[in-house]
C-alpha cells in the first residue's frame, strides 16, 4: 500500500489540481462561449431577414430529428411581422451543420440562408458560408419560392430564380446537398406550421 501511495500520490494530486483548474476555466469562460453562439445566431438572423429589430421565439409542435430547431417571429421596431427565422440543424459531411433560414412574412419565399455552425472541409465545403461575394452558394437561396423542395444540380443554375434548382459547389457536392436537405426540411415541415402563429 505504501508503495502504491509512494508511486502515485503525485498523479492523484495533479489530477485533483488539474480537474479544479479545468472546472474553473470552464466556469469562467462558459458564459462567453454561449454568448458567442447567441451572437452568431442573432447576426445570422439580421442578415437573412431584412428589417428585423426584435425576435420572439415561438413553439412549434413537431420537432424532427434535429431538436435544435428554433423558430423566431421577426418583428420590426413597431412590432409588425417582417418575416420568420428558423434555426435548423442536420447532418453534414463531417459533423452537424446548423443554419438559419429566413422566410418572408407570408412564408412563400426564402429571404436567405446563413450557416452558423459547421465543420465542413475548409476551402471547399465551407463555401456554404458567405465570406465574400465570390461564394454564390448561400446567396442563390434568397428570393426562391418555398412551394416545392429543392433539387441539387451541378450545372450553372444559380440565377434561375423561379425554379427549385440549386447549384452545387464544385468539389463540395455533399456539403451542398446536406445544406439543401436542411432547407428542404424547413420548408416542408416548419413552414406549414407558421400560419397559425401569424
Amino acid at each position: 500500500m505504501k508503495k502504491f501511495v509512494d508511486e502515485s500520490w503525485l498523479v492523484l494530486a495533479m489530477g485533483v489540481v488539474f480537474a479544479a483548474l479545468l472546472a474553473a476555466t470552464h466556469t469562467g469562460l462558459n458564459d462567453r462561449i454561449k454568448a458567442n453562439e447567441v451572437e452568431a445566431l442573432n447576426q445570422a438572423i439580421e442578415e437573412v431577414v431584412p428589417g428585423v429589430e426584435t425576435k420572439e421565439q415561438i413553439e412549434i409542435e413537431e420537432t424532427g430529428a434535429g431538436d435544435e430547431t428554433a423558430v423566431y417571429k421577426c418583428l420590426d421596431a413597431d412590432g409588425n411581422l417582417v418575416g420568420w427565422a428558423v434555426q435548423a440543424a442536420g447532418p453534414g459531411f463531417i459533423d452537424k451543420i446548423t443554419l438559419v433560414a429566413g422566410l418572408s412574412r407570408e412564408g412563400d419565399r426564402l429571404t436567405g440562408i446563413k450557416p452558423i455552425k459547421h465543420t465542413e472541409t475548409p476551402g471547399l465545403g465551407n463555401k456554404i458560408d458567405v465570406k465574400d461575394e465570390l461564394n454564390f452558394y448561400p446567396l442563390q437561396y434568397a428570393g426562391r419560392s418555398t412551394a416545392a423542395p429543392f433539387e441539387l444540380f451541378k450545372e450553372r443554375v444559380r440565377d434561375a430564380k423561379d425554379t427549385n434548382r440549386i447549384e452545387a459547389i464544385t468539389g463540395a457536392t455533399y456539403s451542398s446537398q446536406y445544406v439543401m436537405e436542411i432547407v428542404n426540411d424547413v420548408i416542408t415541415r416548419i413552414r406549414p406550421q407558421l400560419a397559425e402563429h401569424r
Binding site: 508511486e7 488539474f18 479545468l22 472541409t121 476551402g123 465570406k131
Partner: protein, 217 residues
C-alpha cells in the same frame, strides 16, 4: 542535438526552430501539419495553441522533475498535456469562435502530437526550468514556422488569398485566378497537403545536406 551540459539556452532555442525543427527534421506532428495548413489563419492559430501547450507542459514537468517517479511519468505528461489542451480549446472557443470551428477536432488532437510528449521526455524531465522553457519556445516557434510555410503555399495557390487571424482574407492573386474555379483547389484538398509537405521536406533536406557538405569541406 546539443547535450544537456554544454550549449546555452539560446542554442537550445535555435535548434528547436531550425536544425531540429519538429516537423521538417524530426518529422513529428505531421497530422496537424497536413490538416490545418489550408489557410494561414488556421496555421498560425494552431501554432500558437501548440506552443502554449508545449511551454506549459515543459514548465510543469521541469518544475516537478524531482518528484516524478519513472513508472508514472508518461501518465503525468499525458495528464498535463490534456489539461492544457482543454484550457486552450476553451479559450479559443471563447475568444476566437470562428477559428475554433474551423480547426475542429485538431485542437484536442494536440494532446497526441508526438512532439510535445517527446520534449517532456527528452528535455524537461532532465533539465532546469530555464533550459526547458527555451526548448519549448524553440520547438513551438519551429512548429509554427513550418505550419506557416505550408499554410502560405497552400492558401496562396489553393484559394488565391492569405488570411491573417482577426482579419479578412487578402486577395493575392488576380481576380481571374479565383473566378470560375481556376484556383488550384487540389492544394486545399488532401492530395495537395501531402504534395506540399513532401516537396517542402525534400527542399529542407536538400538545404541541410548542402550545409553539412559546406561545413565539412
Amino acid at each position: 542535438m546539443a547535450d544537456e551540459d554544454n550549449g546555452s539556452n539560446l542554442q537550445q532555442f535555435k535548434e528547436g526552430v531550425l536544425s531540429n525543427n519538429p516537423v521538417l527534421v524530426q518529422l513529428l506532428g505531421m497530422c496537424p501539419t497536413l490538416a490545418v495548413t489550408n489557410s494561414v489563419e488556421n496555421a498560425l492559430v494552431m501554432g500558437a495553441a501548440a506552443t502554449f501547450v508545449v511551454v506549459m507542459s515543459n514548465l510543469i514537468t521541469s518544475a516537478l522533475r524531482n518528484l516524478i517517479k519513472p513508472h508514472v511519468r508518461i501518465l503525468i505528461f499525458t495528464l498535463t498535456i490534456a489539461t492544457f489542451v482543454t484550457i486552450a480549446d476553451l479559450t479559443l472557443k471563447a475568444f476566437m469562435y470562428k477559428v475554433s470551428l474551423q480547426l475542429g477536432a485538431f485542437i484536442p488532437l494536440i494532446i497526441v502530437n508526438c512532439m510535445i510528449i517527446c520534449r517532456a521526455e527528452v528535455v524537461a524531465i532532465k533539465n532546469g526550468v530555464g533550459r526547458s522553457l527555451a526548448d519549448a519556445f524553440g520547438i513551438g516557434i519551429g512548429f509554427t514556422l513550418a505550419l506557416l510555410i505550408l499554410g502560405v503555399v497552400r492558401e496562396w495557390l489553393g484559394s488565391g488569398t492569405i488570411t491573417f487571424p482577426f482579419a479578412d482574407p487578402i486577395s493575392v492573386m488576380p481576380a481571374a485566378f479565383t473566378a470560375n474555379g481556376h484556383n488550384w483547389i487540389i492544394m486545399i484538398l488532401p492530395p495537395g497537403a501531402f504534395l506540399t509537405l513532401g516537396v517542402v521536406v525534400g527542399i529542407s533536406n536538400q538545404i541541410r545536406a548542402r550545409r553539412e557538405k559546406g561545413g565539412a569541406a
